[in-house]
Symmetry: C2
Subunit: 567 residues, 2 copies
């Protein structure tokens, strides 16, 4: 068991080192729980029941039983917690009105607690945040941006997409009436771009994907026909394998991937089929495998296949902050805004938190409660005086926070749609901007549009852009982006740039766990320490995801409630 | 050249025979122009310019020049036609108020023609059609269904999705203010189902896809390492190939595809990562390659990659008929509804069309014009008296129409989302229903929902279902669907079934070209015959697609106008 865990850890490190930096919008967002081995299932009795059904009726019946027991889901989430038992007037002070804090406020009040929330910002949501025209964005270093976006257009500087398997977040959206729409992660017609390949010309994802997959299939079909796979595969499977390679790779009758209307049906045409006498289709010439290999564009082909970025992804209609606003409709009455926490004290009977009003920082105020749920990012919390045990203190001090920079650019027209038929999705590049993401709202509409002109994470580029002024960042994003979309220069109007290491309420975009750090500190970070318990994405196996914040909060309040009821 | 064409034709036939029936929602929809070889480009001068720029400045500059010339698009569509020249009061009678007919009406009236339209139905749109609660669906054979769907829910019995490269249709949507939303074709969490594999239990697309791709990559990596590819690939490429296979196949350091957190990041987990102390992720066990091969589930894996079904696809918000209604807002004043054409006569000076009011079929009426654009499906037109030359007459008689059956089912709740986290997309099965498609609207909402419970096309099953009464079709779809979703039985409420061979205004879903048929008849079908020219999806290289209808219409009116102006 321990050996397996060590192996997994080493494996993960290798994978992250080699593959992930090339592949993912944000490595830490892609899974984040790889450091822990197999845990025991807490559901042995139900499992036995299912095994019994399976034995009696065959596995199809078992599947049906699983489904009807609501069991096919791989998530531990089973709806909002049932906090049975009377808290007998207990009070809870929650620090931070992000999704973790507001989830706790919502559920604890429902269970009978007295709840108050202290929030640094003048709005709820925390990193659940949308920037619109008229908004002011303040960063450390004296940078203040006044957003000039046209009304109805926006950018989500923090979380911007929701996977279908984030069951808790989706359930809260359902219960709080947040309307969702698809977020387009994969767009076959978006670009892959490498500065040193194809003379810098961006390539359509569809062509590179079809050509790569087709030529790999051709190679494998060739060795299969040559009998070179005979140890690895039975004679019966050999024939089916060849059939499958023809379908999978768009190969011709001779198992070759060529310029013809078979490959064109996947990679696209030099000339599309049309109507009347105007257009019979014309296939294009595939890109040679060697060229694709050397371009390294294959590094981006699997991004959309990751469990975290698979279809169907969502975004709230109108901006990600619709979720924060929906929570605030429920619990806004117990939130005190503009409250900057300066000190957290506890003793055997309760918690006392000192804070100042951000508009009047000299007058220290105090809030007290029986219990405290602290969702303050560790980047901030590690700088505060807090009464906790050494293991928790060490955990708080140990976690670094990732940097990330997002830049929203407004253009006079949606040229990516009008000129290039790119509707949503992401173009990937090895330029410092890393990716250009096209909006998943307002499709096919005339008029202005905003795209995400850069999303930098980790590495030197993120630090470099963080060091720039916001207007320098925007100007750089326009310069680099113009290498992919020449229309940039003529169409650009205004931009907003957020460098998360400079954002006063988080000083980073998310907790950045290493395997070693998690092994040493994670469980300590989760423990109820006297009368204080932590929650937030940093206290989860889903760092940087809103689902992690909510699940960590639900886990924390369930354990806290158990203690309160037993006390 | 001729040889190449013959080869392409043979190739296509083989591809269609072997691969396509398993792969595609509707084979004829997937491309449909494969029978024709390479045509000459009509844009030689621009090409020369580009070549010049390319020579001088390198291909990156050439790409930029192409983009700024609006030239990167592979479509022939360049905006609505500019019909220069005065038609001097010429009149045009258009038969059929589908998208082809209404496009012609819109553009010809704008160009100065007198336009009238005769339409069989009591609504515009034709196959651009949405069925809602309260609608009546009439089929040949005496079948009348009264749709019982809840208000706000609908099914599109005809076209239901719009590819991003259908430039003309998208342009009309933009100009006519039809709001679009994404249509989800690929959902990684939907199912693949084979009755004789996995004891009938449906498999998640994500797992089969990751396991198939991973194990193919492992096989190819193995022979690469063993030096068995040395003829096919250089030593330098060999190392990059191995790197690419590791990324593409989610292989471990030893180039193996195994149960670990690397493969789980693509195929999904036995247990998802969670928050706090609740859930460290647990990988699941991959399905062996041999099992996947024998299940034939690989047949469905590429459907979403086809150019015609690639992201980003669209549907109009509120139903496909929003497009027909938008056209009708423009040209509805010249449409005469409930007009059944019975005869089409022409002489040197004009066209006379006889028709009856469908409510009063005994009184024959006549409409006359200088010219006629006939969009009546050939399945109907071949039964009418029409004055045309023998080649056109033969073409009209030669084209068979495809059958297709679509069945919409309303359920008490959206169990596919609530229980199974399937939001939009398609599950494929070898059951007669062929596919279940989940709605791409109303995501994550409580309450009732409608899914497409069957989409049968060609083959024995389509005929079998066409022969049934509508209520038998619905009952069968529920029976078969329950083998994939056991919730069907308890949740089903009401359904609607449309068998296109029985639909009075088309007698089939679309023109079904063969290579031989197209070679013999297509050009004849396109020709202006005296004062009559045909338009519609059947007069295009995009049969069954709305884009084909519009492009054929634009081509026909451009040629007609040229003749009118020159006359």
């Amino acid at each position: 068991m321990h050996q397996k865990r060590v192996w997994l850890r080493a494996e993960r490190r290798r994978f992250l080192d080699r593959v992930v930096p090339n592949l993912f919008p944000h490595p830490r967002m892609m899974n984040c729980g790889w450091d822990r081995g197999v845990q025991n299932e807490p559901v042995v009795k139900r499992r036995d029941l299912l095994a019994l059904i399976g034995t009696i009726a065959g596995s199809s019946a078992m599947y049906h039983a699983m489904t009807s027991l609501g069991f096919a889901s791989e998530s531990a989430y089973r709806g909002p917690p049932r906090l049975a038992g009377d808290p007998r007037g207990a009070s809870v002070l929650i620090l931070g009105a992000g999704l973790a804090g507001m989830t706790a406020a919502l559920e604890l009040r429902k269970a009978g607690y007295k709840v108050q929330v202290l929030e640094f910002n003048n709005r709820a949501g925390g990193r659940n945040w949308t920037i619109r025209g008229g908004d002011t964005v303040v960063e450390l270093g004296g940078f203040t941006q006044k957003c000039q976006f046209e009304q109805g257009l926006y950018i989500n500087p923090g979380p911007w997409r929701i996977p279908y398997h984030h069951h808790a977040l989706l359930d809260y959206c359902r219960r709080l009436n947040v309307t969702l729409e698809p977020f387009i992660q994969l767009n076959h017609n978006a670009y892959l771009h490498a500065t040193r390949a194809f003379d810098g010309a961006p390539q359509r994802i569809r062509s590179i994907k079809a050509d790569f997959q087709g030529q790999l299939s051709e190679l494998l079909a060739k060795v299969t026909q040559q009998g070179k796979l005979d140890e690895a595969i039975t004679k019966e499977d050999r024939e089916i394998l060849l059939q499958s390679l023809r379908a999978w790779g768009a190969l011709d009758r001779d198992y070759r991937y060529n310029a013809n209307l078979i490959s064109a049906a996947f990679r696209g045409y030099a000339r599309d089929p049309g109507g009347g006498l105007t257009a019979a289709p014309v296939p294009g010439e595939p890109v040679a495998l060697s060229e694709i290999l050397r371009s390294r564009l294959w590094r981006y082909l699997q991004a959309f296949s990751l469990y975290n970025f698979q279809t169907t992804m969502f975004q709230p209609v109108g901006g990600m902050d619709m979720i924060g606003k929906a929570f605030a409709r429920e619990v806004g009455d117990v939130i005190r805004y503009n409250a900057k926490v300066t000190q957290i004290r506890q003793n055997g009977s309760g918690v006392t938190v000192s804070y100042v009003d951000t508009a009047n920082p000299s007058a220290v105020q105090q809030a007290t409660a029986d219990w405290c749920i602290c969702t303050i990012p560790l980047s901030i919390l590690s700088q505060l005086a807090i009464d906790v045990s050494a293991p928790l203190r060490n955990a708080i001090d140990a976690l670094p926070y990732a940097g990330a920079v997002k830049i929203g650019l407004q253009f006079k027209r949606r040229f990516w749609e009008e000129d290039e038929a790119i509707y949503g999705g992401i173009s990937f590049t090895d330029l410092p901007i890393r990716q250009i993401s096209y909006p998943s709202y307002g499709f096919n509409r005339a008029g202005r549009g905003i795209l995400l002109g850069a999303y930098l994470f980790e590495g030197a580029n993120a630090y470099e852009f963080t060091a720039m002024t916001p207007s320098e960042r925007v100007a750089s994003a326009v310069e680099f982006g113009a290498m992919i979309h020449p229309q940039y220069k003529a169409e650009f109007e205004t931009g907003v740039a957020v460098a998360w290491h400079r954002v006063p309420f988080t000083l980073g975009c998310s907790g950045e766990w290493t395997d070693a750090g998690r092994a040493q500190h994670y469980r300590n970070l989760c423990q109820i320490d006297g009368r204080i318990v932590l929650a937030g994405e940093h206290v989860s196996h889903l760092p940087a995801w809103q689902e992690g914040a909510i699940l960590s909060s639900l886990d924390a309040i369930a354990r806290l409630h158990e203690r309160v009821v037993k006390t």
